[in-house]
Assembly symmetry: C2
Homo-oligomer: 115 residues x 2
Amino acid sequence: MREPVRRAAEACPVEVAIAVVGGSWKMTVVKHLLGGPLRFNALNRAVGPVTPRVLTRQLRDLEADGVVHREVYPEVPPRVEYSLTPLGESLAGLVESLNTWGEAYADRLAAASSS
Amino acid sequence: MREPVRRAAEACPVEVAIAVVGGSWKMTVVKHLLGGPLRFNALNRAVGPVTPRVLTRQLRDLEADGVVHREVYPEVPPRVEYSLTPLGESLAGLVESLNTWGEAYADRLAAASSS
DNA sequence: CAGAATCCAACGTGATACTG
DNA sequence: CAGTATCACGTTGGATTCTG
């Protein structure tokens, strides 16, 4: 388990959740993995303008927190597939909520800037 | 509107939501304000081990993002009340989801460390 | 293909002390 | 009471280049 998560546990359940899913791209990664396993580069392209370096870090965090599973196939060329663990799948509702709220917020932004 | 939020809007609605609520203590602040307005020190005590310096920053962010309203009463001693805007109240469901998921996760942690 | 290595700038977070 | 000022520091996110 990662340290930030453990520290958050001292304070509030809400902080625990934020510690796990609060990093940038993390929930977007989960969102795209809800459709099924993806390989590293496919995920990279799906998530958005994220560099491999950063994506790797986030994936390692998610793996350490038990949200994501990393499966390495010893082939040439190398293949690595990322998928959600059951715990990761339990985030589906949260992703949906974030997506909906984020959309509404973006609409509000657009409306504000056009006025 | 804050820059991080605007940048997130280019990528994914999920990132927008995370940009607004992803900071530490932010959602915990919202959680406690759901019960009604609170003064600065009351909020400080309710949220947890957060320094005034940090809490102030988070509150300013939330204010800039339209989630929180800051009302200053020109009295002596000074009184400042923080409350949720309608947009802030629309986060109620999200807070609930985070709280529930965080609790379940904390339980999982406890179970893992006792085994 | 899936990253690792290296480097860096910017932030986020925090402790401590002070003030209108 | 509700902050602000100052300082410090670790982490994050990112660009770039390289490799088994």
